[in-house]
């Protein structure tokens, strides 16, 4: 039995892997997280709509609903101590034609069935009174007061931050090549050194099915990545609407949402496009144009606003509608897969579910008594920012008001980003309206020698 053995190895550091790492570390397990990308949140978790969902429209009786609900509650509980910003926007689900209008009562009923009792119908006038910039074409809708706006990355960074702060190991840029379960422990061959653990959890996200094949020679499901493209409008546009505006959901997608972001912008998206590639997050201009048009049919004035950025994310959809959490007890192996667009809301709930499952299977540890808290910068436009606090040593990114102190704190922190994208997700640098027109050079200087993929070309 090797000495550097961990209780639990988690493969994949998306929002689910990070939440699991936190939960199991706090439970008292020794945890190692293996991520093949240079930074956490590099797959399905990097592009989403950043809404904390209540689960009002999740399939009744599903595991997904349970996880969203428990994840939602824990998020609100830990948000204060983990310094996670929340914008209590609430949501409106709107009907734009008579067919959609007919569906509303069923959706409200379902929301109540799902235990979201403050969902209630609103008439057209009431909606337009609350949101005067919405198109007069709307016919009716209902409100979901508990749908909130959060920071899509700070949450997962806080989870993994707390895990690492309390003893977990995070190995980035390390791919798991194969695994062997013998004599009650796993031996993992990786792209660097061998890793040993008593238990193994697949949080491979977009690669979950392939990872199953690689480790247990069996696929529990097949992933068909579903791409979602988004357009982010200028901060000025955020004054056009205060609630999150949701369409009537369909079987495959929640549809195109319009909402504010915690960073002070306005988001329109996502599309839902099935594709084969698990990596391709390309946007295409005709779809972006369509999204902009869609946005201005819902909020006509949006037409006059500039676009700050656009991006696409991939949801790891499977042939099943529910989450795919499977354990193979005899091999001390668990797959947590098929976590689609609700993963951000459900992550903490999934972690609790898995924690319970493990303890029922006899993996019991002694919980940490006074777990340490990670240092996380609040990047919310709706809360105090670092530049407002004396001693920030100047502003590097003027669009997003990112200070030199903030960037240096992250670069010199316990989990320094290894790519510019990682640094952007942690600080918002260069993510504003000029998209790096002013700060690219300064950034290249500050990060010189600190990134795995440098900003400059080495001859």
């Amino acid at each position: 039995m090797p000495s550097n053995k961990h209780d639990i190895a988690i493969v994949g550091a998306g929002v689910v892997g990070c939440a699991l790492a936190r939960r199991l570390t706090l439970d008292g397990a020794s945890v190692i997280v293996l991520e093949k990308a240079y930074d956490v949140l590099d797959g399905a978790s990097k592009g989403n709509s950043a809404i904390l969902h209540t689960g009002f429209d999740a399939p009744s009786g599903s595991l997904e609903l349970d996880c969203i609900k428990s994840g939602y509650n824990e998020y609100l509980e830990v948000s204060e101590s983990l310094s996670l910003p929340i914008l209590k926007s609430g949501a409106l689900v709107l009907a734009w034609d008579s067919e959609q209008l007919k569906v509303l009562p069923k959706l409200i009923e379902k929301a109540h069935e799902n235990g979201i009792f403050n969902v209630r119908p609103l008439d057209r006038e009431e909606i337009l009174r609350r949101e005067p910039e919405l198109s007069r074409e709307l016919l009716g809708g209902f409100e979901v007061p508990g749908e909130y706006i959060i920071d899509p990355w700070a949450s997962a960074n806080a989870y993994i931050g707390q895990a690492v702060e309390n003893g977990a190991n995070l190995w980035r840029g390390v791919e798991v090549l194969s695994g062997n379960f013998e004599q009650n422990y796993w031996t993992l061959e990786t792209s660097t050194e061998k890793v040993y653990s008593r238990y193994l959890i697949n949080c491979g996200g977009l690669y979950g099915d392939l990872l199953d094949e690689r480790l247990i020679k069996k696929k529990n499901f097949t992933i068909t990545p579903r791409k979602g493209q988004f357009v982010i409008f200028d901060k000025a546009a955020s004054s056009l609407v205060s609630s999150t505006v949701l369409p009537i959901p369909t079987a495959t997608t929640k549809g195109v949402v319009i909402c504010r972001t915690i960073f002070g912008n306005l988001l329109v998206g996502p599309t839902a496009e099935d594709q084969e590639s698990r990596r391709n997050i390309a946007t295409d201009s005709s779809t972006l144009v369509k999204l902009c048009k869609k946005g201005s049919t819902i909020i006509p004035k949006l037409e006059n606003y500039d676009i700050t950025s656009s991006y696409a994310g991939l949801r790891p959809a499977t042939q099943y509608s529910d989450y795919q959490i499977h354990h193979k007890t005899e091999m001390a192996y668990l797959t947590v897969g098929g976590i689609r667009s609700t993963g951000l809301s459900a992550a903490l709930g999934i972690a609790n579910y898995v924690s319970k499952m493990l303890s029922e299977m006899g993996f019991q540890f002694s919980p940490q008594k006074n777990p340490k808290l990670p240092e996380v910068d609040k990047l919310s436009e709706y809360h105090e920012r670092d530049w407002q606090i004396p001693g920030a040593d100047g502003v590097v990114c003027h669009c997003e008001m990112v200070t030199k102190r903030e960037i240096e704190r992250v670069i010199n922190g316990p989990i320094p980003p290894q790519t510019i994208q990682g640094l952007k997700r942690r600080t918002r640098v260069a993510m504003g309206r000029c998209q790096g027109f002013y700060c690219s050079a300064e950034l290249a200087k500050i990060t010189n020698g600190k990134l795995k993929i440098p900003l400059i070309c080495n001859e």
Partner: protein, 402 residues
């Protein structure tokens, strides 16, 4: 938000937001006119603005009667301002605009509340980003604007790529070629969505000499590449897919006024220019604020901005002397021709009296060859035939008004 924010309070006569060409011109001229305390607020660590990063000629012909490189020109402007006694606050960001010529500032060490008699907005322009232009594809490193390229190359000697493609064909796109040449970077192509280059035609032979192929009327531009750019795909003028191997993309031109500060302020922004709306004296809708230079919605030469800055300073001087501009009653100016994209000034303060600005500036959406009418709700201000392509803004002398 922290309600207990502590501000160090300061006062001045005129505060100028932005230390580029226009800002330094206003400041220097105000000092020449003996205005007491003139402060320039610059968020970067050096004043001078865009020309600082332009290591090419020609700058300074009108101002200093000499051929200067941009960087030398910016230094001269700074030196002049300092010699005349302008206070330069660098590394200082304006975080909020308040009514009555009041600004919230953030320096490296403290937050300042600056109360001025007049404020001049000279924050200039920046290029549109890839996202604003809705350019699709992957998101590798190495896709940057000309501005970012110039800073990287001239200020830091960083080299972001070797064989980039240039999107856009404006003057700045051509100066991107010069910037590249500086470090031995060789652009492989220039592509433009319109059917002609967006500069005078005489620039085209330059591409021929540099051996850079030009593709016009392209559409559906798509950037390919995982961590760094590998190629660009687009539909060419005949609608055929075209792919060019490249290791970087320069997004050039389509300048937009830098108005972030105004977006959540009480000052009106004009939909046509995206810059602040001004009256014939250069005043914003809060008349304690002036705006001049490129922020008004064009991307002009430094010489032009310098001149505008000088003229604006003269008007502010008169304003401060109390010779002032009669009433603050502003009427909106309009031109209903669909080819007209914008009109500067956007307002006339009445009584019209002396017309401080000598010209209207007109921007076009499409070619025009017919009579247009510029009017307020009450009066026809100008009427005449214009014939032009929509390349640059047109200038029309403002007539004497009652």
């Amino acid at each position: 938000m922290n309600s207990e924010t502590v501000f160090a309070e300061k006062t001045c006569t005129v505060a100028i937001v932005g230390g580029g060409t226009a800002g330094l011109a206003v400041a220097s001229q105000l000092k020449r006119l003996s205005i007491e305390k003139v402060v320039v607020i610059e968020r970067e660590n050096e004043v001078g603005g865009v020309p600082r990063n332009c290591d090419h000629y020609p700058f300074g012909l009108r101002e200093y009667s000499r051929f200067l490189k941009g960087s030398a020109y910016a230094k001269r402007n700074k030196k002049l301002a300092k010699e005349l006694g302008v206070e330069l606050l660098t590394n200082t960001t304006v975080t909020k605009i308040r009514p009555n010529a009041t600004l919230e500032l953030l320096s490296k060490t403290e937050r300042i509340l600056l109360k001025a008699d007049r404020v001049v907005l000279t924050t200039g322009v920046r290029e549109s980003s890839r996202s604003q232009r809705l350019i699709g594809g992957d998101r590798p490193n190495g896709v940057i604007t000309t501005g970012a390229l110039q800073t990287m190359v001239y200020m830091s000697r960083f080299k972001p790529f070797q064989r980039p493609i240039i999107i856009g064909s404006e003057l700045v796109s051509f100066s991107a070629i010069q910037t590249c040449a500086h470090l031995g970077i060789k652009p492989v192509a220039m592509i433009e969505e319109q059917d002609q280059v967006r500069v005078r035609k005489l620039f085209r032979p330059y591409l021929f000499i540099k051996n850079i192929p030009l593709y016009l009327s392209v559409s559906n531009i798509r950037i390919n590449g995982d961590t760094s750019v590998e190629s660009i795909k687009f539909k060419n003028s005949r609608g055929l897919e075209h792919e060019i191997e490249t290791d970087g993309v320069i997004i050039s031109g389509r300048f937009r006024p830098e108005t972030q500060l105004l977006l959540d302020s009480h000052i009106e922004i004009d939909a046509g220019t995206s810059g602040p709306a001004i009256d014939q004296h250069g005043r914003c809708t809060d008349t304690s604020f002036y705006a001049t230079g490129n922020i008004l919605g064009h991307a002009e030469s430094s010489g032009f901005c310098w001149h505008e800055g000088i003229e604006t300073a003269k008007r502010i001087h008169e304003d401060l002397l109390g010779k002032g501009f009669s009433g603050n009653q502003m009427s909106h100016l309009r031109c209903d021709d669909p080819a007209v994209k914008f009109l500067i000034p956007q307002h006339l303060s009445s009584p019209y009296g002396s017309m401080s600005m000598a010209r209207f500036y007109i921007g076009l959406n499409s070619p025009i060859n017919r009579e247009i009418v510029i009017k307020t709700n009450l009066d026809v201000i100008w009427k005449g035939k214009i014939k032009s392509r929509p390349l640059r803004r047109l200038q029309i002398p403002i007539p004497n008004l009652p």
